[in-house]
């Protein structure tokens, strides 16, 4: 369903299930998500708050916190075995605290969060934290790591990087902090960068700077980016491929142009109609999605979107769950309108 030229996706997530076991009930945060991440492209993951975007990212990196854990599915990371042969590893099967996963986390896959304050320690300088990350993954001296850290800060457009190395995260502005976090995430040359709402807390002008930076770095380093956001404008500007999630499942995946101009799933269509656009006519009401997102403890039976779906087919949509299936070579959708039950 993805990428041209038949190149294998760099990451394939299949039927991933990550649940949180609490006294009050089980939160099925990710509940059978499947998607492919095309190599050297930007994949966007969109969906409303609570649909499982961040938990998906944390599952890939194996940093899901208790009481959550992966209860099913696979996360296949394809990487060169060094001898020109492609090798693969199922991240879902690794020990989260083991050596291999620690090498992959930060080494193969970098992560940047929405709130950079939480990923920098307040008691260590920005420089020391980047140097430590580099030394964790590469066998280099402190001096070499410091040089590399300076180079990274320079690469992400931080002025006077030597001086900034010795500052603390709280001394930096929001935009600079986000850049420093990108520098840290990229310091070990990851081939995949997961950016979870990297610009949500920023002004549009700073957001534009950071998005530009990510694009530039992708061109330069040939990175694959997984961009998690609820901002469909950011997706339209940045992504090649889009995954739409609803209640822990992927309801649609396709190339960005198809998602915006030929969406198939009723949820994707409704979501697109409901966004305020700068292109819109002044003072007009927006179409809204009927109802609200169900509480995670009581997921609807059948298709998770059926209580809100304008195309709901009684007897079908509330009986069984549709699975994600191709509608053409590039686009997949999980809806009975396209596949009989």
């Amino acid at each position: 369903m993805t990428s041209e030229g038949g190149a294998a996706p760099i990451l394939s997530v299949r039927d991933l299930k990550t649940h949180f076991f609490q006294d009050e009930g089980t939160v099925r945060a990710v509940d059978g998500a499947s998607f492919d991440v095309p190599r050297r492209k930007t994949l966007g993951i969109v969906g409303e708050s609570g649909c499982g975007k961040s938990v998906t990212a944390r599952s890939i990196l194996r940093i899901v916190e208790r009481p959550g854990r992966i209860v099913g599915g696979s996360i296949l990371l394809r990487r060169d075995a060094g001898n020109g042969q492609a090798g693969g590893v199922d991240l879902a099967g690794l020990d989260p605290a083991g050596y291999e996963m620690r090498q992959i986390r930060g080494g193969d896959i970098g992560l940047i969060f929405q709130e950079p304050m939480t990923s920098f320690s307040p008691v260590h300088t920005v420089g020391n934290q980047i140097i430590e990350t580099i030394q964790l993954h590469q066998n280099v001296s402190v001096e070499a790591a410091r040089l590399k850290a300076t180079e990274m800060l320079h690469l992400v457009g931080i002025p006077k990087p030597e001086r900034r190395l010795d500052e603390y995260a709280f001394q930096l502005s929001g935009g600079l902090r986000q850049r420093a976090m990108i520098a840290m995430a990229l310091s070990c040359g990851p081939r995949i960068l997961i950016a979870d709402e990297p610009t949500t807390a920023l002004d549009v002008t700073t957001q534009a700077q950071i998005l530009d930076l990510l694009r530039h770095l992708q061109d330069r380093e040939g990175m694959t980016i997984i961009l998690i956001t609820h901002n469909l404008g950011v997706v339209a500007e940045m992504c090649d491929e889009v995954v739409v999630m609803y209640l822990g499942r992927v309801v649609e995946q396709g190339p960005v142009d198809a998602i915006f101009h030929a969406p198939k799933h009723p949820y994707t269509k409704a979501l697109l109609r409901s966004i305020p656009s700068i292109q819109a006519t002044v003072r007009t009401e927006l179409p809204t999605i009927a109802g609200s997102i169900p509480h995670p403890y009581n997921r609807p039976s059948g298709c998770p979107f059926h209580p809100r779906c304008p195309d709901f087919m009684p007897g079908t949509c509330d009986r069984s769950e549709p699975s994600l299936r191709p509608v053409d070579d590039n686009q997949g959708v999980s809806c009975f309108l396209y596949h009989p039950a």
């Binding site: 002004d203 002008t205 534009a208 339209a236 500007e237 915006f260 656009s277 292109q279 002044v282 809204t288």
Partner: protein, 338 residues
């Protein structure tokens, strides 16, 4: 709209915060959070204040409501009895009757509602504080308000934790409407909400405005949201209004370079419109230590020598279109298409 009546007339509003340092807390400087801001809001319209974080939007709103006392300037407010008073200089003891007529909706529906009080307590609070109605009348009024904002009156006995973000924002709106205010100041009312919920709340605000003849001062940093609700927009940069005009005109034919850059930076939800964006370099100027001349000059792609020396004044370059830029009349700037 019938012949225009100014509900609010803000003149030369300033709010400077002292910067204090050291053991003796000596004043070492000032943050010029709001610096000579003038605008008016007509009855029944929505004026939006937009601009980057720290440009003074919230401070302006708080001065108007007299939540803080401005350093100088006037905020003339037309009361429901037709008299005009300067809220900025009114003694605190005389503020109360006016406060009923101006209400605020906050950004964060989670922290702005007391978790230990029922919906009834929360929505009826302004009625109780102002000694309006008997207990039974208050119950009826709260039921009416809840229906008005799209919540079931039966919810009255519940606590806010049982409600989603969108529902909590509706509760906040119901409370703001309790005393029949004429002016609603909404500070980022939808920025903490999800897209689909955002649309519901914006629609609700539009409907209530028509139904109750409300006037909105809307504070937001999201230009797409602003476009959906505003009649006019004022763009702020480092404590000053740099451009103000009708919404349509501001979006399609901006005349200030900062407005142009802001519009260009907004991501458009259409991959076919991936245009060449104007990326503003550098950061917002420091309100404690602003640059000389035009505050925007270090980031302005059109800056000339005069911009570094002379501070531009907000001028009406076309009827109803105010711009503060030396080159406003000669530049051709890019807006967003329909």
């Amino acid at each position: 709209m019938e012949s225009s009546v100014r509900l609010l007339d803000v003149k030369g509003l300033r709010k400077f915060f002292p910067i204090r340092k050291g053991f003796l807390k000596r004043e070492v400087g000032q943050v010029r959070a709001v610096d000579d801001v003038s605008f008016h809001v007509e009855k029944g319209e929505t004026l939006s204040l937009v601009g980057e974080s720290g440009c003074g939007k919230t401070t302006t709103a708080r001065c108007i409501l007299r939540a803080i006392t401005p350093t100088s300037g006037q905020t003339l407010f037309r009361g429901q009895d037709g008299s005009v008073v300067d809220v900025a200089s009114l003694p605190k003891s005389q503020l109360r009757p006016l406060r009923r007529q101006m209400q605020m909706i906050f950004q964060d529906p989670f922290s702005s509602l007391n978790p230990r009080r029922t919906l009834f307590d929360i929505v009826a609070e302004p009625l109780v504080a102002n000694e309006v109605g008997t207990r039974q009348e208050r119950v009826e009024r709260v039921a009416e308000l809840l229906r008005l904002v799209g919540l079931r009156p039966e919810y009255m006995r519940r606590y806010p934790h049982a409600f989603s973000g969108g529902q909590r924002q509706r509760i906040g709106i119901a409370r703001a409407l309790a005393l029949n205010p004429s002016l609603i100041v909404a500070d980022e009312p939808v920025s903490a909400l999800d897209v689909s919920v955002q649309a519901q709340i914006l629609n609700l605000m539009l409907r209530l405005q028509a139904q109750l003849d409300l006037t909105y001062l809307f504070v937001a940093h999201d230009l797409s949201v602003v476009k959906h609700v505003s009649d006019r927009v004022a763009v702020m940069y480092v404590g000053k209004i740099v451009e103000m005009t009708e919404t349509q005109r501001l979006f399609t034919a901006p005349r200030h370079p900062y407005t142009e850059a802001l519009l260009s930076a907004v991501p458009k939800p259409d991959p076919r419109l991936r245009a060449h964006r104007i990326v503003l370099e550098g950061e917002v100027a420091d309100a404690a230590n602003p640059p000389s001349g035009c505050y925007f000059h270090p980031r302005c792609r059109y800056a000339v020598d005069a911009c570094r020396q002379e501070t531009p004044r907000l001028e009406e370059i076309e009827p109803g279109h105010f711009v503060s830029c030396h080159r406003a009349r000669e530049l051709t700037l890019r807006g967003v298409g329909q």
